[in-house]
């Protein structure tokens, strides 16, 4: 009898497997990594010449504000949309069932999946900020890096939890991208991702305040904000993100299914009598 493989090794394998699948699914890689980047290029083309002058200090491009906002947006989509859609499809196709029939602890599966989502979110955000830094002079003060990192991890973790909830609740794999986009994109408009609305209508402000994306965007922007000089710790925003992350994880834990739904495309219908 050989050694039973350990949780850490199995989780790492699952992480590498999930990453491999992501990069081999061009449409997911495109929408997660390059689609948000297109917004950065687009906004820069539109507002490229605008700079913010601070008396007595250097000037900043507007990219200093929307590159972090788009980085948070990309991180949310890399976790929420990707994990939700992938999970729902994998369930419908019976891939989750296949894992279920093997001696893979569910914890290793979940750790692999969620850490893969956070890793890809990190790459998407880092690429956004790197392009911002190289082409649009985006910069961050070193003393604010800890706050940026905490915000990022809480934000990506929060949307990973919500992504797993989406994957658990989506009735079909095919329907899941529509649900993901119909929830995430409108929320992005209410969450200062694309345009910071000076005086939003109350309902829009309430939506933004209730859901976690605006807190993620604002807290992350804050770490890059040249107009302030603190450490950019944002406990309230962090708490909201953490609460939503826990809520998502609880929903996922309650409704997660390894088996294809009976109405799913590849599902068998055990109740059906005499198909012949």
């Amino acid at each position: 009898m050989g050694e039973r493989p350990g949780l850490a090794g199995l989780s790492l394998r699952q992480l590498r497997y999930e990453n491999k699948i992501f990069w081999r699914t061009p449409i997911a890689a495109f929408f997660t990594i390059f689609f948000p980047l297109m917004f950065l290029l687009l906004f820069s083309a539109l507002f490229g010449d605008e700079v913010i002058e601070i008396p007595g200090r250097e000037t900043f491009s507007v990219a200093q504000f929307y590159a972090p906002a788009l980085a948070a947006f990309a991180a949310g989509s890399a976790t929420y949309t990707n994990l939700g859609v992938q999970t729902a499809f994998a369930r419908d196709q019976g891939i989750l069932k296949r894992f279920r029939g093997a001696p893979l602890p569910s914890s290793a599966f979940m750790i692999g999946k969620i850490s893969s989502g956070i890793w890809i979110a990190f790459l998407a955000s880092a690429l956004m900020l790197a392009v911002g830094a190289v082409f649009y002079d985006v910069s961050i003060e070193p003393k604010r890096l800890p706050a940026a990192l905490i915000t990022f991890l809480l934000g990506a973790g929060c949307f990973a939890g919500l992504g797993m909830a989406l994957g658990a609740l989506a009735p079909t794999g095919e329907g899941s991208p529509a649900i993901a986009n119909a929830t995430y994109l409108p929320l992005a408009f209410a969450s200062d991702v694309f345009i910071a609305i000076g005086e939003p209508p109350v309902w829009l402000k309430v939506i933004g305040d209730v859901f976690p994306l605006k807190h993620f965007v604002n807290a992350f922007q804050d770490a890059f904000n040249p107009l302030t000089d603190d450490l950019a710790f944002r406990p309230t925003d962090w708490a909201v993100m953490a609460a939503w992350g826990v809520f998502g994880a609880l929903i996922a834990w309650r409704f997660f299914a390894w088996q294809p739904r009976e109405s799913g495309p590849s599902a068998k219908r055990p109740g059906r009598q005499r198909a012949d």
Binding site: P5, Q93, R98, R272, D276
Partner: protein, 300 residues
């Protein structure tokens, strides 16, 4: 200890009694085939034994475990070859076997598994580029990579061409010779005949017959069919054979006591110096027996 012990297994879906009191005992080292029409309860039964579905009632022991408990050791000791489930299309054959093999304490080597299922040339091909039959062989590979004691094969050769099917049969026979217990479901009677030590027929959620492939439903005893070309002078043929010949000139009669009937016939022919052309005694095939049993169970 038996590999599988099932008593009074029940699973209902609303009004539908998919499994309605199944009893089953499968001994270690046995190849057991579960036969039955679509919707008879085959897959539901097997999925309960695999731990993929829960049951409404009944006792189930698989390798001494209750599959309803989430037990890692149980999953280490079984191999599941799923029916009509897709495999992660973006991975190569080698990658997916590596991934799953790493979950077991004593996996077979990936290269060995690939060779066993005959996919060496496709080892680095992505799953999505494989043909249906090749994908089924990957399925089979995933079922054996953990070197399990008990293997569930749900319609393992559906969609195979005849030579691929023969190859799978010899693979299954190999597994048997290694002492593995195999529970097989199939639509193909020749498959059950060739592979199974014992078969059971499930219909309407209950086991309606079980035995060896040769004795199922009283197949080894009782009625047989005697066929021969009607001789030119057949006026005083023994009683049971005094019937009209068919279009090909053949007399074909089902007799309840073939030994006696055949003796009467051949004695008659020898006495007259007649060589009976195309003389044959045939037992009902497993398929004949299966169809009779399932039609009966269906109330037909």
């Amino acid at each position: 200890m038996s590999a599988i012990e099932v008593r009074g297994l029940v699973k209902h879906y609303g009004e539908v009694r998919a499994v309605d009191g199944v009893d089953l005992t499968i001994e270690a080292g046995e190849v057991f085939a579960l036969l039955g029409p679509n919707g008879a309860g085959k897959t539901t039964t097997v999925e309960i034994l695999e731990g993929h579905r829960d049951r409404d009632a009944g006792e189930v022991g698989v390798l001494g475990f209750d599959p309803a408990d989430e037990n890692r050791e149980f999953r280490e000791r079984i191999g599941i070859v799923l029916q009509s489930t897709s495999i992660i299309p973006e991975l190569s054959v080698r990658e997916i076997i590596d991934l799953f093999g790493a979950m077991y304490p004593k996996p077979r080597r990936t290269a060995e598994v690939i060779e066993i299922v005959g996919l060496t040339e496709k080892a680095d091909a992505r799953i999505k580029t494989l043909s249906g039959g090749q994908v089924r062989r990957v399925d089979l590979a995933l079922g054996i990579v953990g070197d399990p004691d008990l293997i569930f094969l749900d319609e393992p050769t559906t969609g195979f061409d005849p030579s691929a099917r023969r190859n799978s049969w010899s693979l299954i026979q190999n597994l048997r010779s290694l002492g593995k217990t195999i529970l097989l479901t199939t639509h193909y009677m020749d498959e059950a005949q060739n592979l199974a030590d014992r078969v059971a027929v499930i219909a309407g959620g209950v086991i309606v017959a079980q035995g060896t492939p040769d004795t199922l439903g009283g197949r080894a005893i009782g009625a047989a069919r005697v066929t021969f070309r009607k001789p030119d002078d057949a006026a005083d043929l023994p009683e049971p054979f005094r019937v009209e010949a068919d279009r090909d000139g053949l007399i074909s009669v089902q007799v309840d006591n073939p030994t006696t009937a055949l003796h009467q016939l051949t004695e008659w022919a020898v006495r007259r110096g007649i060589d009976l052309e195309r003389l044959a005694v045939t037992r009902p095939s497993l398929e004949d027996v299966y169809l009779a049993i399932t039609q009966e169970a269906d109330g037909g």
